[in-house]
């Protein structure tokens, strides 16, 4: 591409920006986008990995694998929900600062964007169907019924992952958008095609399901081992599988990461050998080293550290991913997300952060404490005074939030 072509592409991207601007500094949206993406992809990987274990357990006669498959199905169900709900946040933030790119990419593959919704619902329902067929089995070692539905679920999950991968890949090719809009000399309004993908990038993110799920198995052992009815032989076996998965999986993922870096488009310049490019790969292989050093023997404390460590690794990769986007769009095309028009709105900015910290912080602390404690209790869990007070406080905080909504609203309305 010559300088004039690049200038035309840049002009187009700037023209597509929303004239309403954004209500606070763009870097905040980018930061939150990266953070929430790291959380989202962690649960996506958990959902894929635990689904794979469920399936492996369903086709394996070994009693431990059967039990583990049934246990991981519970985590898979919750992981899908959490992946979806957490995924809303990066989806929101990407269309604030990268709206020219996200919207164009989506419109050009509109049928797939719509299909994404339908396929994901079917994948989720297929998983629930498998659960309803087998969830009530008291004996978790019997051969499960309707294994086809779990296979279907996993395949469909991989398909929606690929659609999302393709949409985000298309963002990185503004130089091809007009070309994609024309097919065989004619304008193509159908949105029937996915135009870009990098199979190594896709495989890398999917492969991270192996070490992340390994971390879940290690955590599972630690969590369940304190229960009075714990089967330590089974749990230790599960943790050993998990440790192996972290180490082997991280190596596989690192190889795929290198392959991704080796196949970046020319517009990425020297990103693969830059600090950010290298850092992502080092973080992934670093996870294997960490597991080798810190998850020896019992390693009680570090068992709980396995998942937070997976999140840290994911966060480093998410930062590298964002830097790659910045490198292409800013470095090559001179599109700077930092110069987006700001129409500052302190009220809504402040309300979000206060709600996030206070309402989210207090209520989720209460919810997760209850979930955690009841999971470790045989029979009915009755919380102590402190946890009860946290519950009452949560009710008051949410009630106050609702009151402020109406007080501010009626005041503005009456003005």
């Amino acid at each position: 591409m010559d300088a004039q072509q690049v200038a035309q592409v840049t002009e187009m991207m700037y023209a597509l920006r929303n004239p309403a601007g954004i209500p606070t500094f763009p870097i905040i949206f980018i930061g939150l986008g990266v953070l929430t993406f790291a959380l989202h992809i962690l649960f996506v990987q958990l959902m894929l990995g635990t689904s794979a274990i469920t399936l492996y357990g369903a086709f394996n006669n070994n009693a431990y694998w059967r039990r583990l498959g049934a246990a991981m199905l519970e985590i898979a169900k919750v992981s899908v929900s959490v992946a979806i709900v957490v995924g809303v946040a990066p989806l929101l933030f990407v269309q604030v600062v990268y709206d020219p790119h996200w919207y164009t990419s989506n419109v050009l593959s509109a049928d797939w964007v719509i299909a994404f919704i339908v396929i994901l619902i079917l994948a989720y329902w297929a998983m629930y169907y498998y659960y309803f067929q087998n969830g009530k089995n008291q004996d978790k070692t019997v051969q499960p019924k309707s294994r086809w539905s779990m296979i279907t679920s996993l395949i469909l999950m991989l398909v929606v992952g690929f659609i999302m991968h393709s949409l985000t890949s298309q963002i990185l090719h503004p130089e091809l958008w007009k070309e994609w809009y024309m097919q065989n000399g004619k304008l193509d309004y159908s949105g029937t095609q996915l135009h870009a993908y990098n199979i190594w990038r896709y495989a890398f993110f999917i492969s991270m399901a192996i070490p992340v799920t390994g971390a879940m198995l290690v955590t599972y052992r630690r969590f369940k081992s304190v229960r009075e009815d714990a089967d330590h032989d089974y749990l230790n076996w599960a943790a050993e599988v998990g440790k192996k998965w972290i180490k082997v999986g991280s190596v596989i993922s690192t190889v795929l990461y290198v392959a991704w870096m080796a196949t970046l488009p020319e517009t990425a310049g020297n990103f693969a050998t830059s600090v950010w490019g290298i850092l992502g790969g080092v973080a992934v292989i670093g996870y294997a080293l960490w597991a080798q050093l810190r998850l020896k023997g019992e390693a009680r404390f570090c068992s709980y550290m396995a998942l937070p460590m997976a999140l840290v690794i994911g966060l480093v990769v998410a930062i590298s991913r964002e830097m790659l986007r910045y490198d292409i769009l800013n470095g090559f095309f001179n599109y700077n997300f930092m110069d987006y028009k700001i129409v500052m709105d302190w009220y809504s900015t402040g309300l979000f952060f206060l709600t996030f910290a206070i309402v989210g912080g207090v209520v989720l602390s209460y919810f997760l404490t209850i979930a955690w404690k009841s999971g470790q209790t045989v029979g009915v869990y009755t919380p102590g005074a402190t946890v009860n007070k946290l519950g009452t406080l949560s009710i008051w905080i949410v009630a106050l939030w609702i009151v402020q909504f109406f007080v501010v609203g009626f005041y503005v309305w009456a003005q």
Partner: protein, 484 residues
């Protein structure tokens, strides 16, 4: 720079992009409203279970919760972002206008959404595993958090019809855009409706209750909930109508079908009758009947309301400043937003559109139909499908055999000047109006097949001309080399 913020167009020939959005949105409203209403019902029932030490109420909450988890939370949580997805591809500037003004509000809703999702799992799976008092607390938090999601989204939805306060146009500001009469009227209407839906969907769970006395008790509880909320909802709808712009009422009177009012009344009467019958004879509530009534009542009740709201805000799609065809048609000084109409009037829609292919930037005899199609897709296809089927098909608006001159006259006299109340003003150069007219007539007379054939011919001629030009250039270059 004369480019404006217009994206490529997605055109779905069978049902039209508008219907795709409507289907997903209706499904989402069905799922999400039921979830919010049920969350508040759970809070009440869990509280009652705690006070009166009753297991049967908690069992009902668990069963209803599991039903919701599978059918409304799964589908509702996916179709929620699904609405973003569908509007992104069908109306990128419409959803962009909302996102860019209310991103933090959505982010705030997301906090409650996370609480909701964690909460529903806890409500379902912790029955019998935590004490009743704790379950009651979880349910109350869950109910209030669900309500908060409704409170947040309703201001954004009402902005689609009209910004909360008139001074938003002059002063901007999130609060002026969010809060207003329309916001609260719509909130009242939706809250009432969500309880109606909760009562109707609850029938499916009631159908599974074995104990006749408990079945009767729950049928009565939900029956009263349904009757009261339906009546309140109907009066809220009347209030809502007083809070929309005059233009919207005008559109409603002129554009909605004659049977609209009467069908609303029938749905209302049918819903009330259903609740009364099930209260009097709870044994009638069996799974099939309750499921069928859920679909009938909810879809029949929801579809006209959502359709009316979508039609009434025309020609705008968001904030009374973004046209349904994605062009910004009005200055908003408070947000430093300028109308894009003057730019289009100056350079034409083809020059102003960032995605116009180079060979269509100017209309000529060799690209007229392609240019006309591009303009129709950009300006018309959001509301009028150029195909045989779909949303308000274009061919229905022109008589058979209409002349190109007559259509061009209509385009220049009516569309470019914005002389129809419910249609956007669509500026065009004369050459562009001629191209649009040529396309419309061809589409009207021969349909998509004729258009495709004409475009193929144009492309063929252009390629031939380019090949000839290339050959001539080669000959000229050789001549130059040989010194001729």
């Amino acid at each position: 720079m004369d480019l404006i913020s217009l994206y490529p167009t997605w055109y779905e020939p069978t049902v039209g992009s508008g219907w795709v959005v409507a289907l997903i949105a209706t499904f989402h409203v069905l799922a999400s409203h039921t979830s919010v209403g049920a969350a508040m019902l759970f809070a009440y029932l869990s509280h009652k279970a705690y006070r009166e030490d009753r297991e049967d109420l908690l069992d009902f909450v668990k069963k209803y919760g599991l039903f919701l988890l599978v059918f409304t939370y799964v589908a509702g949580s996916i179709t929620g972002p699904g609405i973003w997805y569908s509007t992104t591809v069908a109306s990128p500037n419409g959803i962009g206008a909302l996102i860019h003004s209310f991103v933090w509000k959505w982010a705030t809703e997301w906090v409650f959404f996370v609480i909701e999702v964690v909460g529903v799992y806890m409500i379902v799976y912790l029955v019998g595993r935590v004490d009743k008092r704790t379950h009651m607390k979880i349910s109350v938090i869950f109910g209030m958090a669900s309500l908060a999601t409704m409170l947040i989204i309703v201001g954004i939805l009402s902005f689609m019809m009209v910004p909360g306060k008139e001074q938003w146009f002059a002063d901007g500001g999130y609060l002026n855009g969010f809060y207003g009469t329309n916001t609260f009227a719509q909130l009242g209407m939706r809250m009432a409706f969500m309880f109606t839906m909760t009562a109707v969907v609850g029938g499916i769970v009631i159908a599974g209750i074995k104990d006749p006395a408990f079945k009767k008790e729950m049928a009565r509880k939900l029956g009263w909930l349904g009757i009261i909320s339906t009546l309140i909802g109907a009066s809220m709808f009347q209030w809502y109508l007083t809070s929309v712009p005059d233009q919207a009422l005008l559109v409603m009177e002129n554009r909605l079908p004659d049977y609209f009012q009467s069908s609303i009344m029938i749905v209302l009467a049918g819903t009330l009758a259903y609740f009364i019958i099930t209260m009097l004879r709870p044994q009638m509530i069996v799974q099939g009947f309750a499921g069928a009534m859920t679909i009938i009542i909810l879809v029949a009740g929801l579809w006209p309301e959502e359709t009316a709201r979508e039609s009434m805000r025309k020609p705008w799609v968001a904030g009374q400043y973004v046209y349904s065809n994605q062009v910004i048609g009005k200055d908003v000084p408070g947000m430093d937003i300028k109308s894009q109409l003057p730019t289009i009037e100056k350079v034409g829609i083809l020059q102003a559109h960032p995605f116009t292919p180079d060979h269509l930037k100017e209309v000529n005899d060799g690209n007229k139909i392609q240019a006309g199609e591009f303009i129709a897709m950009t300006y018309c296809s959001n509301c009028h499908s150029p195909s045989e089927t779909g949303i308000r098909p274009l061919h229905r608006y022109f008589p058979e055999g209409v002349s190109q001159e007559r259509v061009a006259q209509y385009v220049k006299g009516v569309l470019t000047t914005g002389n129809i109340a419910y249609m956007p003003k669509m500026p065009m150069l004369d050459s562009e109006a001629e191209a649009l007219a040529a396309y419309l007539v061809l589409n009207n007379d021969g349909g998509q097949a004729a258009v495709t054939a004409a475009i193929d011919t144009e492309i063929e001629q252009r390629e031939r001309a380019l090949a000839e030009q290339k050959a001539q250039d080669t000959v000229a270059a050789v001549d130059l080399q040989e010194g001729k």
